[in-house]
Amino acid sequence: MSESTGRHTPAAGGVQPLLELRDLDTDIALRHGTVHALDGVSLQVMPGETLGVVGESGSGKTMTALSIMGLLPPGGRVSGGQILFEGRDLRALPADEVRRIRGVRMGMVFQDPLTSLNPTMRIGAQVGEPLRVHERVGRAEARERTIEILRRVGMPRPERIVDNYPHELSGGMRQRVAIAMALVCSPRLLIADEPTTALDVTTQRQILELIDDLKEEFGMAVVLVTHDLGVIAGRADRVAVMYAGRVVETATTAELFRSPRHRYTQALMEALPESAIRESGEHARLYSIPGLPPDLSRPLTGCRFAPRCRHVTDECRTTEVTLSAGAHQHACLHPVPTELAAPVRLPAPVRVEPAPAVAAASSAESAAEPVLSVRNLVKNYAAHGRGLLRRTAGQVSAVADVSFDVAPGETFGLVGESGCGKSTVGRLAVGLEQPTAGQILLDGTDIAGLTGRERRRMHRQVQLMFQDSYAAMNPRMRVDAILAEPLEIQKVGGTTERRARIATLLDQVGLSRRVLERYPHEFSGGQLQRIGLARSLALQPRLIVGDEPVSALDVSIQAQVLNLMRDLQRELGLAYVFISHDLSVVDYMADRIGVMYLGKLVEVGPARDVVRAARHPYTQALIDAVPSVTPNAAAERDGVTIRGELPSALNPPTGCRFRTRCPLAQDICATEPPLAGDAHEVACHFPLRPESTAAAAPAGAAA
C-alpha cells in the first residue's frame, strides 16, 4: 500500500511531520540505579501514516509510546531530547496544555483489554469521559456521541453496551471499547501498544482491520507497536525496528521486508518459524539469536546488538553507530548488502505445495501402538452463574467427545481459539484431572483404572510443560530442588544418582551447572522454559504435553526453545502433544494437527494437509486470520471470515458448534457432523475440500 500508492514518504518535503521524536532519552529510576529505557530515539510520524514499531521484549517500544503520552511509570522521566507534536515540543509546554493534547489530539490503546478499562464504571461513562472533560459537553450529548463512536468501532447494539460494565464484554469487545475511547475526541494520532497481543487471531484480525478502516475515516496517523512482524507487515506504511532502547532501522514496510539492512532485523526474520518452512519446505532448524538483550541499567558502548551478532567486528563494540541518512535508515556498521538481500520470498498465507511423502509416512507410522490414545473424551465443569441475577446454570462443556492418537516420536499439535478446551485436554491427558466420560489410554492402559502406585508410575510416562514456567516453579525452591523434585516423588535413585541425572539434564537443555543454586526469579523466560523442559525430561517420559510452551517468548528465544524441543525429540524419541494458538508455530512443530472449536475436535490430519488444505471452514478462517510477514497480504485475502463472538461454552450450540459463525451454515448443521475421513478427518457437513492430495484443492486460498 505504502510504496505503491506513493503516499507519505517520510522525507517528502513540505509536509510537516505530525509527531517527531528527536534524540529522546528516557530513564527509569529504580531502587538501585537507573534503567536507560530509551537512548536517543528519533522517529517521525507523518499525518495519516501508520508507523509500525517492532522489537523484542524490553526493546523500549512501550516506553517510547508512554514517553510520547507522558504516562511513564513511577520513577520514569524523559531526560533528554524533544517530542514535537504538531510542531510544538511537548516537554516545553505547561502540564495542563499537555494533558489537553493527550486527551484530545492523541489517543492510546493499551495491550491488555481486560485490565485497561475501569471495572466499576459503565462503558458509556468511560468512553464519554474525554468529551465531558475536554469538550464540556452535556450528559445527553456525550451519551449520544458515545453510542455513535461505539457504532463506528463496530460494536453490536451500542445503545445497550453503553450501560454495561467491562466484565460483561468479551476481550474483543473490550478492545473495541478501548479504541472508541481513544477516538472519541477525533485525535490526530492514535498510539496502539500491542493492541491485539492478548486476543485470538480471529479477533486480532477484526481489530487490526478496524484500526485500518478508522485511520482512513478519521485521517489520523497511527503508531502501531507490536512484537509481531506479521502484524506490522500487514498494516504499517513504515516500520521502525527497535533494539535495546534504540531505533536500529526504519524503512517503508515493503522495503524493510524486501531487504532488511540491519543484522538484527535480518536475524529476527530468520528466527520466524514461517521462514524456516519457507526456506526449505522442510522442518529445518530455526535460526536463533544467541544470548539475551543487554541490561539497560548498565552503561553500554558500541552497537548494542554486537554481542549477539553473527557479523560482529571489534569496531562494532566500540563505535557508537548512528542511523544512516535517507529513506531507509539503519544503524549498522556491517549492514546486509543490498545486492545480497534477496527479496524475501513471500510464503503463501496457506501452503499450496504438494504434500510431501512425510505425511503419508507418518500416518503409516501411526499404525504402531500409539503412546497416547484419547477416546471420546468428555469434560464438563459445573458452571457458576455470573452477575447478580444469573442463576447457576448447567455445565461448561470444556471438552466434548474428543478422540485422537499420538504415535511414539510424533508431535501432535492442538490449535484453536482461547477457551476451546486445549488446556483441558492437556491436563486430562497427564492425569491432572478426571474426565467426565471417555478414556485416556497410555500405552494401551486406561489410566482411570490405575491403583495408587500404578498411577504414580504412570506419571513417569507423561509430563506436562507449562506456558508460564515461572508460575510452574515454586519461587522458594532453588533450581536443584526443582529438578530433583520429580526424582524424589518417583523415588528414583539415591542422592548421587539424582545429582548425576540433573547434570545430564542441564547438559541436554544447554544450561550451565551454575544455575543450580539460583532461584526461578533470577532467570529469563527462555532459560526458565529450558529448566521446565529439563524437569519434564527428568523422568525420561515417552510423552510431553506442552501447553503453549513458547507463547510467552520472543521470536528469538522462541526459536531457541523450539529447536531444543526438536533436538530432544530426535535424541530421545519423545512424543509431544504441542498445544498452541499460534498456527505457524504448530505448523512448524507438528507432524499432525488437531483443530478444536468449543470443546470439539473439528479437524485432524497431517500438519501440511491441515494447514495447506484445510477442510473445515473454521480451520480455514483461523489460517486466514494469521498475520503473515507478507506485507498487505491480509487486505487481499478474501477467504473465510468469522463473524461475531465465540459462543459461551455454557450453552454450546447444538449440532455443529461452529454453525453460528459459519458462512456456509445450513439447516442440516443443526445435526452433529461426525468426524469423518481417513488420515485427514473433518467434522463438517460441507467440508471445503474433499480429502485428497491437497494440491488439488486450491479453493478459498488465493495466493
Binding site: D295, V430, H459, R460, A472, N474, E485
Partner: protein, 307 residues
Amino acid sequence: MTTLSEAVRPGAVPDQPADAEAPPVRGLWRQGLVVFCENRLALVGLGLFVLLAGICFLGPLFYHTDQVHTDLTAVHLTPGEQGHPLGTDGVGYDQLGRLMLGGQTSIIVGLAAGILATAVGTIWGAVAGFAGGWVDSAMMRVVDAMMSIPSLFLFMLLAAIVTPSVPMLIVIIGAFAWLGPARLVRGDALTLRSREYVQAMRGMGGTGGRAVRRHIVPNAIGTVIVNATFQVADAILYVAYLSFLGLGVPPPAANWGGMLSDGLADTYSGHWWLLYPPGIAIILIVLAFNFIGDGLRDAFEVRLRRR
C-alpha cells in the same frame, strides 16, 4: 480488636526491576533483608525492639533492685529520691526495676501468645484450605462464629474461668487470637493449592501431603511470619486490656499493661512516674512490632517478585 494484621493486606509494589540480563545472584533471604532495611520505619521498629528488650532483659544484670520484697517505708518516692531514678510505687518497689520486670512479662507473653496464635491459626487455616469442601466449610464457620464474638469478650470470659497467670494469659490469648491467622492462611492455602507449581508437582505423581509440606507451607510462611509480628503487638495490647478490665496477672508479677492500668488510678495523684513510663513503654513496643511487621511484609513481597 480487629487487628491491622487482618485488616491490611499487602499492597503490591509496582516498581519491578527491569527485565535485565543476568540478575544479581542474591539469596532470597539477603534480598529480603535489604528491602527490610530500606524501610526506615522497620529499622526504627527493630531498633526500638532491640533497645526495649535489651533494657528489660539485660538491664537487671546491671541495675539491681528488689522486686520481691515490698518496702512500705519507701512508697511513692519521687524520681531521683533515695537513688531510685524513676521513683518507687505504692508498695516501695523501684519503678525502673519494675518496668524492666514488667517488660519481660509483656514481651514474653506477647511473643509466646503471638506465636501460639499464629501456630494454631496456621494449622487450622492450612488444613481447612487444603481439605476444602465441607471440612473447610465447617472449620471456617467455627472461625466465623468466634470472630463474631468480640475478642475482648472472649478474653474476659476466659480470664474469668481460669485464674490469670503468665502461662495462662499466653494460652488464653493464643487460644482466641488465632482466628485472624487462620483466615489468612486458609486464603493463602486456597490460592496456593491451585498454583501451577502445585499442579506441576501433582503431574509428577506427588501427593497432597507433599504439596502441603514442600509448597504450600513454605510459600505461606511469609504471610505467617508477617502476621505473627502483628499478633505479638496485639497480644501485648490484649494483656493491657485484660489488666484494665481487672483480669490481668496478679503481683508480684508485673507487666506493662497492668502497670499502666494500675497507673490510671494514679492519674491525679501526682505520681506521674507510675502512669507515663509504662504507657510509653507499651506504645513503643507495640509500635515497634507494627513497624517490623510492615517492613517484613515489604521484604517478603520483594522476595517473591519476579525479577
